[in-house]
Symmetry: C2
Subunit: 405 residues, 2 copies
């Protein structure tokens, strides 16, 4: 993409109403645009990052047998009354009347609808297990939306629901999802910890995938030596305690919850009568789990944990472009063409602006590699990683080999 | 995908509340599930078709320089007041109050928001032209949702917006989009006609991309000999008239509007003050167009024009699977593996159900090719196109060559 043809517009100043590190960097660098508190548009640059995170999640969901579908956002009250969550969730759910005076809510989670679908389709133990997921907009009627993409009123989420004949099969799959989640966050370059927590309005207990950072809203007590970690809301330990699992000491940290997995068991299938016939023809309640990842929140968290004074630092797996080519000669078109033909996702800064502007924008955008063509570089190209200070000269063929990996 | 592991559940009977051919076939075949009037979930099979339509549209939008972004569904009243469309569109737009007592609407189109973004980002003629599009859920507060996916209250849409320095550049791009749309519908196997029409709440005039079918809601007057076609709402001709362009006769047809393109010119940019500085530094109003395609509606229209008494008939470009393999021997696993390894998207009907059920489900699902392995076929495989009556025997290598195209 040539910069002059792109929709990339960076700002020199941090927007006045940016409420967090992620919002200020992402708005300044032109990845997102605030529409109202907690509601952001993903501009083309931000959309590219979003899509890459989405792809990684989709790949790992498909790898464990997830089948993708797309449920609707508009939810009828009657369905949510079956579980009592229309009333229970009224502070979270946007609820209003439509043109026919019927009560409608906007989906903030989809247990009711997926159970409604499954109870019509699943009849026998032969139809189980099933793992169904979607990637779609979710809504929360947050009076105090804040922290940019971390706590939004409209956000993108992946939600997976699984259905099993018995608890043993559910436990097997729950562990598979846990491993898939760890793979996803590793691919995203995020260090996460699995934290025991309450399940809020969804279930009694859950496991959260938390990335530790000072701006995290959640307080976590964890052991540095083993994998013990509890969210404060259910914690049986406090800072300085001895770990119940080993002889390590309990520490405190703040975390951003990027994903969560819930043991639903029969919480929804029982009141909604989602049953199957077992081998002997006996009617049994379906055992369920559900598993979420906040995709736009993950994008915000990536910024919180990976930036410096000059701007964003995207991990290579989700960067909007692999490299930015800065042309100070007006003659780099053929180099750009070569890189594009080699299949490297390039941003070509062909603007007629001072070199300093190009360099500072390259840093601000956080693209992993910076290539410079100038009078000084001659037939060669200067290459520098966003995370390193030192650059070196190399020829185009080596650079293609290097970046093509 | 093995049928026994899939979430495919067909119904023997047409659902009682199906209100159209597309809803009855799609629900019976397990592609969609009705949640309430005009609101459907896309089940895994339907989602696959949806994704393929989406991909074709995305490819053609990128080919004409479209940059993808993702705007939000929640819309603040203030923004829509700038053009007067909060009040004007109140019968179409879901409007309600949030937890902070602010008025919110659900996006049914996005001119206001995209102009709001663009007026903050575009300053100079050098920043133009721009073409920005998104693919996302849209909402219409329809009191009489009907016709399955054809007139929904929640649906998927691609909406593209273009921004130009002058009308000449806008006209050039408008024609490019028209050609891109014709390519898209051709790839989808749909014969469409470009019809002059009014622009409704969006603009004064538009061009619609109509597929002719008896169930279409729109009345179109067209000439069979040339490309003259007008929607009844603006028509200057009637059935039996002589075509104003040639000596052909005007006919009448009913159409389903799958896409539309609008000359917005300065309708939104002027009241919202979206301007740029021209070469001389003079402030000029940005010239705009917008261009929609109803993706789920297109899926419904495909069913309306392509089915028979036995079920759906998907064009190869969007079929959920390329071929269904029906095993009547219990020994076809290795054939299935070979086909999958050759990169052919297969549905493998490995169910322990009577042959007749497998055959009728294969027809109902509308998958382009049916492969049968039985005692009779020996070392060979019987292959039949969904659209043809005759089958023939062939060996696996030829079949792979054939289907791999």
């Amino acid at each position: 993409m040539k910069y002059t043809q792109s929709f990339i517009k960076t700002l020199k100043e941090v927007p006045a109403d940016a409420d967090s590190i992620n919002a200020s960097y992402l708005e300044r660098a032109g990845f997102i645009e605030k529409q109202m508190a907690g509601v952001y548009a993903l501009l083309p640059l931000g959309f590219k990052v979003y899509k890459k995170i989405e792809s990684i999640i989709r790949e790992e969901m498909n790898a464990i047998g997830g089948q993708e579908l797309l449920m609707n956002i508009l939810q009828p009250k009657e369905l949510w009354d079956e579980t009592g969550r229309w009333a229970e969730g009224k502070d979270v759910m946007y609820q209003f009347k439509d043109a026919r005076d019927q009560q409608i809510g906007l989906g903030w989670t989809h247990e009711e609808q997926i159970v409604d679908i499954v109870r019509k389709k699943i009849q026998s133990y032969k139809d189980l297990p099933q793992a169904l997921y979607q990637i779609h907009s979710k809504f929360r009627n947050e009076p105090r939306a804040k922290s940019g993409l971390l706590r939004g009123r409209e956000f993108m989420m992946k939600d997976l629901y699984s259905f099993h004949a018995d608890e043993a099969d559910f436990n097997r799959f729950y562990e598979e999802v846990k491993q898939a989640y760890l793979k996803i966050f590793k691919r995203l370059g995020l260090e996460v910890r699995v934290v025991a927590a309450s399940g809020g309005l969804i279930a009694k207990y859950s496991h959260e995938f938390q990335v530790f950072t000072e701006v995290g809203e959640d307080t976590i007590f964890y052991c540095e030596k083993c994998d013990f970690a509890q969210n404060k809301e259910i914690a049986e330990v406090k800072e300085g305690d001895k770990c119940p699992n080993c002889d390590g000491e309990i520490k405190m940290a703040h975390g951003i919850e990027l994903g969560n997995i819930f043991s639903l068991k029969s919480k929804y299938s029982e009141p909604m009568k989602a049953t199957y016939a077992d081998k002997n023809g006996a009617k049994k309640v379906i055992i369920m789990g559900c598993y979420g990842i906040g995709i736009t929140r993950t994008m915000g968290a990536l910024v919180e944990v990976s930036h410096d004074d000059f701007g964003l630092i995207w991990p290579e797996s989700v960067a909007p472009y692999r490299a930015v080519l800065i042309d100070l000669t007006g003659k780099a078109d053929s180099i750009y063409e070569k890189l594009v033909q080699a299949g490297i996702e390039m941003l070509y800064d062909d603007r007629a602006v001072p070199a300093g502007v190009k360099f500072s924008d390259a840093d601000l955008l956080g693209i992993p590699y910076r290539l410079v063509v100038s009078e000084k570089t001659g037939d060669q190209i200067e290459i520098k990683k966003r995370t390193e200070k030192e650059s070196h000269l190399d020829n185009i063929d080596n650079i293609i080999k290097n970046l093509g990996q």
